[in-house]
Symmetry: C2
């Protein structure tokens, strides 16, 4: 038998249990799946069609971007350094109304996919409108993606009648349930302040019936609580729990303004969190209590958010930012250590978006989503601890090869 690929490297970081560092390691790939992973000598004599000698390039899992709005790369840098309401109401919403259509959604989603692949991201979790056009871009690009059609109680691009918002989202899931093995449809309810209780429960019920991930922005800003009707004394998290929104198939995006009681609820219900530090910083939303969430055992992944509030899809920069932000916020240099941070960007992110069994680490049986990171650069020398080097020193531009589902999509730092 002849396998598709054997990739050998001086250093393999599989991000599996116990976080091993495998010197002189190799990964065997066949039909898009990881067949085996171990010391290079274990594969001597094996027959392969393609042998990649990565040398000083680290083999590691591709990164997981847990929160994106892919078409918004069109608005990258359109309006920065502004108060949130001015930014949203005077710039982003009007720009969306004018420029968002099926063609622009597909074009800029494709652009974002290229940007993500070039920076080592192999899976993203997206929510937007005209999501079927995001799906087309994703399928063409070769990336892996969880995609949710947006649900909001206002006229939205492609869904002018809000009464149809859940039906359109359900239609999207049905249309793409079996369209591609790399595409996982989902439902993306915008937020508890832009969706009524009825919309939230109907959308969540539909997601459960369809067996798909339910994404929702939660407690992003301090003001959000005031914008939700009928909370009474409840926190936003308590409200969402009370109407049945929180469970293992719910991804709570942002989760900035939550307290210890909320964290206990999130843990109890098994819900997951997408942490978007750069977006939360740039929009001055606040600092999510991520070290506490992780300590309590909640699966927290990293997300860039859309390009209008970041302004890129670079998870290497996001890791560096996440690790440093929480240290200074808590005045504790030990929190968010490099291993914890790299787990967020890989295996924990995969779990958070419901793909922990598919991707996020290099182990037998998972799909072959991997990247090579070239460590032979001045800013990566010397290397005492590869986890530190990957989080604090490596850059998106150090990614030289990207494989998704066993296919090479980036080689020598360029889209194939």
């Amino acid at each position: 038998m002849e396998y598709d690929y054997l990739i050998e490297s001086d250093l393999l970081i599989p991000m599996t249990e116990g976080l091993p560092v495998i010197e002189n390691g190799a990964v065997l790939v066949n039909e898009g799946a990881i067949e085996a992973c171990g010391k290079t000598y274990e594969f001597s004599g094996i027959k392969v069609k393609n042998r990649i000698h990565a040398g000083k390039k680290i083999i590691m899992p591709g990164l997981i971007n847990c929160h994106t709005h892919l078409p918004m790369s069109l608005f990258r840098g359109l309006a920065d350094d502004l108060p949130l309401d001015v930014w949203l109401n005077e710039h982003i919403f009007p720009a969306e109304a004018e420029h968002i259509n099926p063609e622009s959604v597909e074009k800029w989603s494709r652009h974002s996919c290229s940007e993500m692949l070039l920076s080592g991201t192999t899976t993203c979790c997206d929510g937007y409108f005209h999501e079927e056009n995001v799906a087309k871009a994703v399928m063409a690009s070769g990336i892996r993606a969880v995609l949710g059609q947006g649900v909001i109680d206002f006229p939205a691009p492609g869904v002018l009648d809000p009464k149809k918002n859940v039906a359109v989202a359900v239609e999207f899931v049905k249309m793409f349930k079996t369209a591609s093995p790399r595409l996982y449809p989902s439902i993306f309810c915008h937020s508890p302040y832009t969706c009524s209780k009825e919309t939230l429960t109907a959308a969540k019920q539909a997601a459960n019936d369809l067996g798909v991930l339910f994404q929702i922005h939660v407690a992003e800003t301090k003001n959000e609580r005031k914008m939700i009707q009928g909370l009474g004394r409840m926190s936003i998290v308590e409200y969402l729990e009370s109407i049945g929104i929180l469970d293992e198939k719910t991804l709570m995006v942002h989760s900035v303004w939550i307290d210890d009681k909320d964290i206990a609820i999130i843990k109890k219900k098994g819900a997951n969190v997408a942490h978007c530090p750069e977006s939360n910083m740039k929009l001055a939303s606040g600092i999510a209590p991520v070290p506490k969430l992780i300590e309590k055992g909640v699966a927290v992944g990293l997300g860039t958010d859309g390009c209008a509030s970041n302004n890129d899809h670079d998870l290497f920069a996001e890791m560096d930012m996440a690790a440093k932000l929480h240290k200074v916020a808590l005045l504790d240099p030990c929190v968010m250590d490099a291993r914890t941070t790299l787990k967020m960007a890989t295996i924990q992110g995969a779990k958070a978006v419901g793909l922990g069994h598919i991707t996020g680490s290099i182990e037998k049986g998972k799909r072959a989503d991997m990247i090579l990171v070239d460590m032979d650069k001045p800013h990566l020398i010397p290397m005492y601890d590869p986890y530190s080097s990957l989080v604090y020193s490596a850059k998106a531009s150090d990614v030289s090869l990207v494989m998704v589902d066993g296919k090479i999509l980036v080689q020598d730092g360029k889209i194939v």
Copy 2:
């Protein structure tokens, strides 16, 4: 007459007064100096030896790194995610005692110079020991640098008898005062908690007598105040003012734990500040009140600090971090806008280290320290505002050409 270089680009960002954006701009360079800067058509018919058509690559001033310890790239990632005292006493100090010698200082300073040049930095302001070997590395690399021999009241690498610390620093200044037109010697007193009042005043007096910059770490950590004898009710800044340390030729590094009264003193004395957000975040030192300092008119530059606490020399990442950190810390998305941040990394940084008349902007009479930033990359498209793009989206790896003092040191992203 034939000039050395004419560099033409679709976009020239000179960082001069009023922050103009010059479309189809060009810079004329001769004998290491900027001869003229304007619209490309103004230079038609001019004779030049080398014409560079930068096209979609932005021409901008080289970046100024206001605080480095260049030899410490040897310790990049040696010990991360640790409490400050454990990091310093159990890892960094022993590593310095064992591995710092004239040869390692020169070797790793040279390494850091390459890293800085490749990421678009054309000037740095350094302080360390065996600084004459840093100077050798700087001269060989072609970068511009302010270099200060360290003064500390403990036995230090190369200065085993602390009684000689000021004399050694003075000797360094005299030795390098005329050694190279790109090298500006300085005196670097480590801090008010590691130097006595006598040492501080003697070192500052010597710096004044020699007419050079005086660098000092100030109020980096919350605990620092407790470590200084004889403060009484004074703040650290009041103490330094009371003993004559603060004036226009003093660079206060970090300045994290300072209050409004301190800021008023800094402004009154005309002292300058080097802000090192990534280091302050990673070591969990705290967040310097930079927007207030800038509002009061203090010249604040950006620094990476040494590679043991960052872990790189990347000022593009530092700009992104600085802009976002202060927004979230103050819950105000309008502070530290892209223009303010880019000024910190260029002209304000140059002023802070005493080289505002030499570098930091592209204008007639200044030395030709410039970089080209390639905007034809997915993460830089579209571009609505070049300042936003440079701060929030551009990366060190987008730097394609670096010129210092009229010499090209990096071309096509590689050291020449």
